[in-house]
Amino acid sequence: MISLKEKRWIPFLAVILGLVAGTLIVILSGRSPLIMFATFIKAGTGIDLLKGGTFNPRLVGEFLVTTMPILMGGLSISFAYRTGLFNIGAEGQIIAGGVAAIGAGFFIPIDNQFIHSTICVLAGCLAGALWGLIPGLLKARFNVHEVVVGIMLNYTAMYSANWLYKQMPLNQMTRTENVPVSATLNVDFLRQLTNNSRLHLGFIHVIIALFLFWLIIEKTSFGYQLRATGFNKEGARFAGIKVKRNLVYSLMIAGAFAGLGGALLTLGTYGYGRVITAFDNVGFDGISVALVGGCTMLGNLFAGLLFGLMKVAQPALQIASIPKEIGDIISSLIVLLVALQYAIVLYRNKIRDWFKKARGQK
């Protein structure tokens, strides 16, 4: 067994080891790891150490824009996982949320941006929740595994969304017109503040979502039932908890979190709907975030920022003539190391024993 204390330090150790491995790979490929770290710092804080510490707020804005949807994916996966479910359908729920938000943007005529954008965001949450309801119901009624349904629904969502987008005002075959400004989350104030980045009001929604996640899971009696179900389904059933109903609710709420992520992506990052031929992987990145973040609110926040950074830094790495894949390599190594937590503890114990013995022999 791994103790709670160990569970907390393992992700940090994994991040350090991941960065160390990334450093070694960069050295082996004949590039400077210092430039790599400087690029990461630049992408995360906007401060360019290689150019005498110049500050560009646009980079911070873009960093947050990239992070927000991934973070929402993480929250979605985490919420379901705390109930013992693997919401691999988050990707599809994100797409469903995105298309619903854009649809509400085009077809609900309201001029007030606060009201209109809020309605669009809620439409996204609702669509995500409905997309989560399907695997939830199938699981509760027929005991169909949520992973199978989720994967299939990811494709269903993608192709349906593509068709739906094509029914909307089209700009080109691959994207819709820009939604009316009142539906978007973009405000000039943030744009000016961050030197024309795409930073949008979505960060407020993310903060609310983080708070709600924490409140529901840790503090409410509803969350208590979900956690009981997640830890021990049979135990929960013996105590009279309505396990099946909770599974459905859990996947719906997880879907709503993912749907919000999709709405932020379409209403905030882009401002239009995109006809896509392959997944954005935002939901799948969310799996990594949830795993590294240990499915807690704070863990998700940190892990989301980390994975957002690894993603947003890639173009900058390439410009600095460091292979951009290094970002993916580090992210994957971190995930791998967290997944191997039992092995990490095992080897740590072995090393400790070995030191003990070495000391004993002296």
């Binding site: 067994m1 509803f222 956690r227 009981a228 021990n232 135990g235 929960a236 059933r237 009279g240």
Partner: protein, 510 residues
């Protein structure tokens, strides 16, 4: 007399606990040597070290006078050490012979398994050690006692000279226990050495020559069984005097609380497990359900608690029909349930202790506007911990998984009794617990009886049933094979009823 096992200064440290603290153990060839101790006293650790499953931090082991290093179970087997685990390790759709020869198959040319030769050798072993088992029967078709004999044969087939038994009687009926005792004696008589891990004093008295008592990882002493009585053994094992017989006051049963009428229940696979059972249970009464595991007791309990649907028949609680009610509503109607499997069913092991206390009332007593009310939860947790003497290293904040079995069980009993249910269903309340914890839990159950609660006690331990119950129903094959007053029956008669002999008629009163 020749010493066959000699363990000296065995020490094993686990995180946070010194499981074995320089233990010395000497076992004489041809003897039956019992290892007695509470849960967590270090018996299993010591035997796991002997069997090579765990490496000691220090100390050495001599087998037949030769110093050995037992690095894994294969080494132990080569040294002639065999072990019968508490949970058998058998392949269910293999025959007895196939199970026994598995891993040591006699072969003809080209590596073809010679089943005939294996069967022949096993028949010889059965004969010479008086073990009754059909080598050609499938494991799933034979009784638990016969499965255990298969495990014993497995060791004999590998020519083990030292046989370690880990709590061998936990799963047996009284008759099977007697048979096992005979087998143990015949093994010892033929020169084999038997090590018996147990916490049942009666069995030690019945069969063992020597007993080594462990307490908190240390040897409390080694005694000749003929020179020590049960009371002394218990005191040495627990470290204080133990009250044996649960003190049951005479009292009259009151109004009917539970009525079960013609109840028929199917299990998850659609097999009829409870076949038209009827009974009543009254205030201030403890009704025992005795029977061998798997004769419909689980399904009966699940039907009453709402975990399994009822096929036909009715269940009335306080005159109200609860046959169709969901689990939660039954709890609210005055039902309490201490399930047999505390890890899977009774507790959420990864929850904090305090979270486990509120599992029936997380949205009523312990919540305000849907938010958990931490102050009330903490207060309740501290109250129960204090009142029921639940020991946990971090108090209410302890992760339940890290608590000992006895304290986990106390936590469940505390939770259920505290709700003060009119009908308390208790299944196997003391399985795997040591004398001290058993004594405590029994006293709390009897206290509920004095408070005029109705209690349905399901147990495979006849001692427990006889000590606590007023009336006893025996279940065999989904039916009630007999009903007895606890004061007018005994283990032998109940044992026969458990095997399905209606009303124990083949039994002659001595």
């Amino acid at each position: 007399m020749e010493t066959v096992i000699e363990m000296k200064g065995i020490t094993k440290q686990f995180p946070g606990i010194l499981a074995n603290d320089s233990i010395d153990l000497e076992v004489t060839k041809g003897s039956i040597h019992a290892l007695l101790g509470e849960n967590g006293a270090g018996k299993s650790t010591l035997m796991s070290i002997l069997f090579g499953l765990i490496q000691p931090d220090s100390g050495n082991i001599k087998i037949n006078g030769q110093e050995v290093k037992i690095t894994d179970p294969n080494v132990a087997t080569r040294l002639g050490i065999g072990m019968v685990h508490q949970h058998f390790k058998l392949v269910h759709n293999f025959t007895v012979t196939q199970n026994i020869i598995l891993g040591a198959e006699p072969c003809k040319q080209f590596g073809i398994v010679d089943l005939k030769q294996g069967t022949k050798k096993i028949r010889e072993l059965c004969k010479s050690f008086h073990l009754e088992v059909d080598p050609e029967a499938l494991i799933e078709d034979i009784s638990v006692g016969q499965q255990q004999r298969t495990e014993i044969l497995k060791m004999l087939y590998r020519e083990a000279e030292i046989l370690v038994f880990d709590e061998p009687t936990a799963v047996l009926t009284p008759q099977e226990v007697e048979d096992l005792m005979k087998i143990l004696r015949s093994l010892a008589a033929s020169g084999k050495t038997v090590v018996l891990i147990t916490h049942k004093l009666k069995e030690i008295k019945a069969v063992a020559d020597v007993v080594t008592i462990l307490r908190r990882g240390k040897v409390e002493g080694t005694y000749k069984v003929s020179e020590i009585n049960e009371k002394e053994m218990a005191a040495k094992m627990v470290g204080r005097q133990v009250q044996f017989a649960a003190h049951k006051k005479a009292q009259k049963a009151g109004d009917t609380i539970l009525q079960v009428e013609n109840l028929t229940v199917l299990d998850g696979r659609g097999i009829e497990r409870v076949k038209g059972i009827s009974f009543d249970l009254h205030k201030g009464e403890i009704l025992g359900i005795a029977g061998i595991d798997g004769n419909g007791q689980d399904e009966l309990v699940y039907a009453i608690t709402g975990l399994l649907p009822v096929k036909s028949g009715r269940i009335l609680l306080n005159g109200e029909d609860i046959t169709e009610l969901p689990v939660k509503n039954r709890f609210e109607a005055g039902l309490g349930h201490v399930p047999s499997d505390r890890h899977r069913h009774g507790l959420i092991l990864d929850f904090l202790l305090k979270e486990n206390f509120i599992i029936h009332a997380y949205n009523s007593d312990f919540a305000k506007h849907g938010l958990l009310d931490e102050a009330t939860i903490n207060q309740k947790a501290d109250q129960l911990i204090e009142e029921f003497d639940v020991r946990a290293s971090l108090g209410r904040q302890t992760i339940t998984r890290n608590m000992s079995g006895g304290n986990q069980q106390k936590a469940i009993v505390a939770r259920e009794i505290d709700r003060s249910p009119e009908l308390l269903i208790i299944v196997q309340p003391t399985r795997g617990l040591d004398v001290g914890a058993i004594e405590y839990i029994h006293s709390r159950i009897l206290e509920q009886r004095e408070n005029q609660k109705a209690i349905l006690l399901v147990s495979f331990e006849l001692d427990e049933i006889l000590a606590l119950c007023d009336r006893i129903l025996v279940m065999a094959n989904g039916e009630i094979s007999g009903e007895k007053k606890a004061s007018q029956t005994d283990e032998k008669q109940l044992g026969l009823l458990m095997l399905g002999h209606k009303s124990g008629e083949t039994y002659d009163q001595p």
